[in-house]
Symmetry: C2
Amino acid sequence: MPRILLTIAYDGTAYSGWQKQKNPAVRTVEGTVEEALSALFGKPVEVIGASRTDAGVHALGQRAVLDIETSIPTEKLPLALLKYLPEDITVVSAQTVADTFHPRFDCVKKTYSYRIWNGKTKNPKERLYAAFEHIPLDEERMNAATKKCIGTFDFASFCAAGSQALSTVRTIFDCHVQREGDAVTIFVTGDGFLYHMVRILAGTLIQVGKGRLAPEQMEQILLACDRTQAGPTAPAAGLTLEWIFYD
Amino acid sequence: MPRILLTIAYDGTAYSGWQKQKNPAVRTVEGTVEEALSALFGKPVEVIGASRTDAGVHALGQRAVLDIETSIPTEKLPLALLKYLPEDITVVSAQTVADTFHPRFDCVKKTYSYRIWNGKTKNPKERLYAAFEHIPLDEERMNAATKKCIGTFDFASFCAAGSQALSTVRTIFDCHVQREGDAVTIFVTGDGFLYHMVRILAGTLIQVGKGRLAPEQMEQILLACDRTQAGPTAPAAGLTLEWIFYD
């Protein structure tokens, strides 16, 4: 059966994360996408997702595959799915891939963004897609700290309890901070991320930006391999899975 | 009694507009703000708002005044109100004004923005704060058209039925279009706006951007003083009351 790769964008606000849960009453993105596909094809369809985003986390470039024999041309699938999906989930594109393609194992890197609304007061239009920090963030300090995390390291200090990862070593290819007015965004690209890793990194960089940590301390925090050395876990709302890269 | 001017930001998605309605079950921003003020001060408080935004329309700089004798310092009001307001409404600032100050009559100009997500596919993170248009918009054409609306004109072509305005003459001080990636934003500043005026202007500029109207036709549309000559009313979600100016 042909394997189809979907690129999926969603507003994660209303979902208990990507991954389907045993209790079918728990609303997940994966479950909702499978329901839409099942309704379209008139039979149960399951997908394999690339990334298990947490509750409240968003995605512009999540990926999932399904195996299906259909007369609908692959490139028409996004349009065909439109009426079966809620407003907060969109299938952005669909393409046929080799039937050995695996969205998780074949991933070479992923980019996440973490957005912080750094205005004097809360901005209601930003609350669902950004963390709020009223203390002015110094993005140059933050950028100095991000440089310390680029490379291959044991990121145990940036891994929440409950992680099932066998190794806490990951490679970060790029990490940088950008300001546009009152919005500060952290972009991070790596070969993979541990449980809550980007949110702990964001929480730590916010501490650096506020002047509570020196950029150089990032090195010691990494070396400590101790979660208590890093900053707090930043809220889910600020996090977006931007893109997943394949060869 | 001292008169206090509040600057209010809100996500209008969940509200039937600013203005309080006879049916108290209808959720309005004004009603919600008054409830918060009444809870804070322990007695019924009414406000006078500056602008009657429609259902689903947002604001970063709405204004409202209240008359109150209180021991809370004016500048502490935003913080004091925080726990009485829902997440989608924020009092950004508070200042004491002359007791003759009127938020509507003393307004010299207002700026609205209208955001359009002009990507190939819908972006779930944009759906609450932008209209969606997949046909590429030519912002240079749109900017050529905006120039035709700057000045004092009879904007009857841009006024929805049901308007109670005595005159349809308004002055537009500035109108321009800006693109950042897939987001196209129209900014318009004027001495006042007719019912649905910015949304009809946006709907017409979108037609120009798509190539369905020539920028020069803007002039004829204005001269016609006929609502049927202008484009459709663009959806409420894209509209934000950015700021209200006083002398």
